[in-house]
């Protein structure tokens, strides 16, 4: 195989964001997304603020892990960055270009530089098409290739994700979940994008398959210089693949940090609770761990609590938390945190 794999990769978890002199690949500033809810007496809907003024940046060849529980807005953030849902406010820049300001035609052109891998490998490929058609679709839309060139490119992509070029003529139902996810990745990298948003890309897979996909993503990052926004709820997976991590709760980023700092010394009580809730696969260690079990559930996003959004479940809640939203401050050891304990 010509595309030898660079398994050494870059050292993960270096303390600073890898924003080179050229600036970050993706910059998000105060991104806000509202959804109109249907219902109400006259069909007049309420609004749900799914994402609240989220800011983050992703450097070249960097993987930013975005973690949070269901309803935290992490997936919406990813979609809004690619304008698969329209942001209500805020700015998204890709290589310095303002994505939120692009008109329809320019946006279509910009899409070749930002791609997405979806969670459900069973519905992300058109069942009525052979997979070669699905993988080749980005090429059809953005490049005019001869039949031979196109089929060569598709074959090359298949080989790149570890599948045989001869599979191009097969239908999706002939593939297993892991293989389908490889196909979805092949489609996403077809145009050599700068940014790849992976939305729970391995959550539906068994452990052994999941690791194959994670390794594949690392290889492709090394080979093509990709930047990843890696959205996941599985913290162990994020620890492995991400260089930096942002934690979301109820539409807000509550903490960002280089991966090692976040996992070793979480600054936000929510991050701490999340980490402690994940059981470790070692009975003795698990028994000895101190566990923080949060009470209650995530509040209704349509009707968030006043003050700090986390105060209803926070073990360290103080009076100020109930009335005043905490500011974002620098966290000890790097990154940022949004908590009154640190102000």
């Amino acid at each position: 195989m010509t595309n030898a794999v660079n398994a050494s990769g870059a050292t993960p978890g270096s303390l600073s964001s890898r924003v080179g002199a050229a600036g970050p690949v993706a910059e998000v500033e105060d991104l806000t997304v509202d959804f109109r809810l249907r219902g109400g007496v006259l069909g007049r809907g309420d609004t749900l603020r799914a994402v609240r003024a989220v800011s983050l940046e992703i450097g070249e060849r960097e993987t930013l892990g975005l973690v949070g529980e269901s309803g935290s807005g992490k997936s919406t953030t990813g979609r809004a960055m690619l304008r698969l849902v329209e942001p209500t406010a805020g700015s998204v820049r890709l290589d310095g270009e303002e994505v939120t300001a692009l008109g329809r035609g320019d946006l279509r052109l910009a899409r070749r530089r930002m791609q997405m891998v979806f969670q459900d490998p069973y519905s992300s490929l058109d069942p009525a098409m052979v997979v070669g058609e699905s993988i080749g679709e980005p090429l059809d839309v953005h490049e005019s290739l001869s039949r031979a060139e196109r089929s060569a490119r598709v074959g090359d992509l298949l080989e790149h994700v570890g599948l045989s070029a001869t599979y191009a003529q097969r239908y999706p139902y002939e593939f297993s979940g892991g293989q389908r996810q490889r196909l979805a990745i092949a489609r996403a990298i077809a145009l050599h994008p700068r940014l790849l948003v992976c939305d729970e890309a391995v959550s539906a897979l068994d452990v052994s398959t999941q690791n194959q996909i994670l390794n594949l993503l690392e290889d492709l990052q090394a080979e093509f210089g990709l930047s990843y926004l890696f959205i996941a709820h599985d913290l162990a997976v994020v620890r492995h693949i991400a260089h930096r991590v942002a934690v979301m709760y109820l539409g807000e980023i509550v903490e960002t940090a280089p991966t090692d700092r976040l996992f070793d010394r979480p600054a936000h009580p929510y991050t701490e609770a999340l980490l402690s809730a994940v059981p470790v696969p070692n009975p003795r260690r698990q028994r000895e761990r101190e566990r923080i079990v949060l009470r209650g559930e995530v509040p209704d996003a349509a009707n968030p609590p006043a003050g700090c959004a986390f105060h209803t479940r926070c073990p360290h809640v103080m009076d100020v938390c109930r009335v005043e939203a905490p500011p974002v401050v620098a966290a000890p050891g790097g990154g940022t945190v949004r908590c009154h304990l640190h102000t």
């Binding site: 698969l84 997405m116 519905s123 239908y171 297993s176 489609r187 145009l191």
Partner: protein, 297 residues
């Protein structure tokens, strides 16, 4: 052992086996649908080749041999004017099938495009189209058809046009529903995310996946259209003499129920079998197509 150097080809296990087995199994299960298809092809052939197959002139009256029982010189007997029932049935079948095709054609044309628009356009357009559809569906189909034919004057073309209009909402709803659900599929979002223009998304992803339920509905609607044609012709509001459809043959034979039952039994049997064939074919198609979409989701 497991931490071997990565071989990208670790996923090269052959695709899930049994794809072909599944196809064969499905095909086998559709024996009935296959038989229905064969029957329909035969009926169409027979009506197309009516001039060659007819033993008598379908319009030739022979008052010397009226109401003859099946057998002898007339395979299916003769009617009250001495016309050969078998030959008439061949030509009448032509009328019935063409009428059904016409109604289905009208329904598809009037149904698919509004359905696509309703499914793909915004809430307001959708709401308008769906309210109109609801209104049309508030009329009992046959009553509306009778009313229209009553106003426009009895003619088969009028009748089938109206039947087509009446069946159009089924296609609107079907196509809209399918589009709405396909739109929610990740593969459509994936296609949008690579910058595929909307028309291409519709043509490449939405339509092909909407096609299977559409074909099924065409077959089932053909069955209903045949029944509707037969009903209208039975009421004397469809095909006008001396032309005949299977429905109007029964209407004519109805007066001789007690003395010449073959006049109603044979055309009725033809209608029933043909309608059954369309229904069985539609069901068979539904069972063998469209399963892949549901799988795994």
């Amino acid at each position: 052992m497991t931490a071997t150097a990565i071989d990208r080809r670790e996923a090269l296990a052959p695709p899930e086996p049994g794809a072909r087995a599944r196809f064969v199994r499905r095909f086998r299960r559709q024996r009935l649908a296959l038989a229905a298809l064969v029957y329909l092809v035969l009926v169409v052939l027979a009506t197309v080749l009516a001039p060659l197959l007819a033993t008598h002139d379908p319009l030739a009256q022979n008052l010397g041999s009226v109401l003859q029982q099946p057998g002898g010189g007339h395979v299916l007997g003769t009617d009250d004017l001495g016309r050969d029932v078998f030959s008439r049935a061949l030509y009448a079948g032509r009328v019935s099938l063409v009428a059904a095709a016409q109604a289905v054609g009208v329904a598809v044309v009037l149904g698919v495009i509004p359905g696509l628009v309703a499914g793909y356009a915004g809430r307001k357009v959708d709401a308008v189209i769906m309210r109109l559809t609801d209104a049309l569906m508030s009329f009992p189909p046959l009553i509306l058809a009778i009313a229209f034919v009553g106003v426009l004057g009895p003619s088969l073309t009028n009748a089938m046009f109206v039947i087509g209009v009446i069946f159009a909402p089924r296609f609107v709803r079907l196509v809209r529903g399918t589009v709405l659900s396909i739109r929610e599929e990740t593969f459509v979002e994936a296609s949008r995310s690579i910058g595929t223009p909307t028309p291409r998304v519709i043509v490449r992803h939405v339509l092909p996946n909407a096609l299977s339920p559409l074909i099924v509905q065409v077959s089932l609607t053909a069955a209903m259209a045949m029944l509707a044609e037969a009903s209208l012709s039975f009421l004397g509001l469809g095909v006008q003499p001396p032309d005949a459809s299977w429905g109007s043959m029964i209407e004519r034979g109805f007066r001789y129920t007690a003395t010449a039952p073959w006049l109603t039994v044979f055309p009725g049997l033809l209608i029933a079998l043909t309608v059954l064939a369309f229904n069985v074919l539609g069901d068979g198609l539904r069972d063998s197509l469209g399963r892949e979409i549901r799988r795994g989701s």
